[in-house]
Symmetry: C2
Subunit: 165 residues, 2 copies
């Protein structure tokens, strides 16, 4: 269904990535301290990165709190980009799970995949009808091509003027 | 079973809390930026706090990444305190789940409960026998007496000289 998946050219994706990074830096101090960067946004998903030094732990690997925060931001950020044109819509994360598989010894990378079209369609239709909808997202923490952690998060979008339940 | 649960007097608990806070500040830069404090440690569990301003988000409530990081640190920290005398033992968090129930609008508080005696006993016995053991922990994010998020985390402790599996 055209119009649900972002149908942007490369310039459009790059501009969205720039706006998201500016928004995160403006409002979330921890994003600045983690030195998060929006490293990629296209029709397949969103990639965030952060340097190891700012996010290191006592074993000289990535701090688990930084990894789960980066994955949370990747899922929240992708939802923000999907809904950027929907003024008055808020997004919160309601639940998440992370499975740490391997320590991360280089820069942190979180890649959140855009859900399949039927899921996206259902999300937008439900949001329009009920003024509130959930989106289940998956993110991977990667080091090169190696999967280091598997994350799932639920984002809830809601409109200010939704009918009381 | 005496000896498994920490059997400290108030001075002993306070000293453990001080050592944990110093350890976290020494090795994890994000702990400094979050301004985490070890606010309480006793026979029931461990409490960590962090000010809202350093951990705020775009809605002027606590950033989800800060909440899940604080809960992760509370569980990891309690395990660290349990194993402080066990030299050469490492602790990693292998998995976690968080359910966000309400926004946090004041200082962040994460309280990790010490598990029941049988679970602790099993943890220590397994660690001694296999040089590796898992501990399932629960943490609550609280605002006063109101539960704002429910967290579960699995800590894995292992000894350097464990037999290859």
């Amino acid at each position: 269904m055209p119009g649900l998946r972002p149908s942007l050219n490369n310039t459009g994706y790059a501009a969205g990535a720039t706006r998201l990074e500016a928004y995160l830096y403006r409002y979330i101090p921890l994003v600045r301290h983690m030195q998060v960067r929006v490293a990629g946004f296209d029709a397949t998903g969103l990639t965030l990165t952060a340097p190891l030094a700012a996010n290191i732990n006592h074993q000289s690997t990535a701090f688990g709190g930084s990894l789960v925060s980066l994955a949370t931001l990747a899922c929240w950020g992708l939802t923000w980009l999907l809904l950027e044109q929907e003024h008055g819509t808020h997004i919160v994360i309601s639940e998440s799970h992370i499975l740490y598989l391997r320590p991360v010894t280089e820069a942190l990378v979180a890649y959140c995949t855009l859900p399949d079209e039927p899921l996206l369609e259902n999300f937008f239709v439900t949001l329009k009808r009920r003024h509130k909808a959930r989106l289940e997202l998956k993110a991977h923490i990667l080091q090169g091509k190696i999967l280091c952690a598997r994350f799932t998060g639920t984002c809830v979008a809601y409109r200010e003027n939704r009918p009381s339940a």
